[in-house]
């Protein structure tokens, strides 16, 4: 998948911002919806391979 390019600038870090190792976790994702993906096309085949062999994206690339 191509990289997303975002032309709008990121905000300046507010004065006094602090986070452990520069990161602050705040919330979590909303619950996901279970759906069927179609077993069709080259990208599905890659997905199926990862899922059946319990591999991550980077393991799959090795």
């Amino acid at each position: 998948m191509a990289t997303v390019t975002i032309a709008l600038p990121l905000p300046v870090l507010p004065e006094g911002w602090a986070g452990e190792k520069d990161f602050k976790s705040i919330g979590q994702l909303s619950a996901a919806t279970d759906r069927n993906i179609e077993p069709v096309g080259p990208h599905f085949l890659a997905h199926a391979r990862r899922k059946r062999h319990k591999r991550t994206f980077s393991e799959d690339e090795r």
């Binding site: 997303v4 520069d22 990161f23 602050k24 179609e38 069709v40």
Partner: protein, 573 residues
Amino acid sequence: MSAESDPAQRVAIGISFGNSYSSIAYTSGEGKAEVIANEDGDRQIPSILSYVEGEELHGSQAKTQLVRNAKNTVTTFRDFLGQDFKSIDPTPCHQSAHPVPSESTVAFKVRDTEAEEESTVTVSEITTRHLKRLRQSASDYLGKDVNAAVITVPTNFSDAQKDALNKAAKEAGIEVLQFISEPVAAVLAYDARPGAQLADKIIVVADLGGTRSDIAVVASRGGIYSVLATIHDYEVSGIQLDQALMDHFAKEFLKKNKSAGDPRENDRSLAKLKLESEAVKKALSIGTTANFSVESLADGVDFTASINRTRYDLLASKHIAAFVRLVTHAVEKAQLDPLDITEIIVAGGNSHTPKVASAVANAFPETTTVLAPSTSPTAINPSELSVRGAAIQASLIQEFDLEDIEQSSHPMVTVTPHLSHAVGVLCISGEESSGIFHTIVDAETPLPVRRTAIISTPREGGDVLIKLVEGLRHIKVTKPEPKPKKEKSEDDDEDDSDEDESEEEEELREKTWKIGNVLSEAAVKGVKKGGKVEVQINITADLNVNAIFREVGGKGGVRGLLSGPKVTQNGSA
């Protein structure tokens, strides 16, 4: 193991098998799908068999038999597969061999041998014979014995229907590697074109076929497809469009031939009227006028007439409007807005009709691309979308063991959590009220997913804030300022109602974002002037987020881990 299921021995093609037409295609060594013409030179082969003195005719040759030999001509049978007689609608077969109940299935009574008496041929057997002919045409063309196929079916084809089709194909010497759904095959046909760019899209496949309309809303995310909603309708169909023309020409005929009978009231006349009306409809897809010409249409009277496209559009407008309503309903059913639709693939044979494509386009904003021959010069022939998709899928899986293919299609693999909202960053400001959301991963993306974004920084660089949030798509509607009422005479007021819609000020509808859950903040410090920040997000199937933030070309980077909502496990006791 039989030779047929040995992947090394396979010669696989794609087959689209419709109630009206079928097509065959293969994928060449260079990965290009090619639709195969049969011995009659047809790429859209009528799904029709006809028996004359024991000889079997197929395709176009069988179709012409509808005039003289309708009783022994079998049409429109695909949807009958795997169904019992009580659940089928036999209407499309009124002018050909009638379906009859036969044990638990449907059959046709035809004289398919030289003998006087009719035989009862089940829909499975008819399908086998039809598929044998398709297989033979493909084998002749390829010079190799075709023995396997990917076949397209509608999204609402039941397991019983697939089972019946699978068995019928096997009888025809075809190992079905996989059934894939028609709309998804259409999407794949476009995505597999050389030079096609992979992009996240919401696609509507709007298929106006011969006997039915099928609409599917498909999310395409990184080349993976999820069907969000479907609609099927058996009232809105090509048959209706043909009927509109049949009524038109029948009336014209009666006007000119006061003493002749109505061609719609005599079987043979009706068959001629129907075949020629379909031909006229097809001709009007390319030309702006077409000629209707039938020898001895009724009572021995020949009839020729011409019609222009505008007239046909008018005759068809009710049916086309009904089709457009199906398309917009499907979008509503998927809980989406027309503004969410990136692309509409207008599929099925009737999508050659320019008015079908333009009417669909008119119901959607200009940001929606409509892919049809009349709206896009690079559109794929709408009659060939399914079969091209099937041929591409066949080439992708033909070397796999059947068991492997089945396992991959199993819900264990295909049922997948999808993101409910987009995930992205706030630009310009970190305040939820004033920051501008930009998507990195779209809603409806199946998990796990990994995406990378490259984001600009303030002009002087420096320390930047990367705030990951959920974006909730919102449709902002701006009502036009009420115009001061002009003084008008009463006559003028009446005219107002027919005025062109574009003259009126329409409300403005825009896609905007509301901020949902805030996920995290990260700081990347000391970004150089003109530098960019790379954000890589990994979201696992259990909604854990693993992100890396770093200056492009810089060393190190900031790592962040977010755990997903705690799920209560079922049956862990």
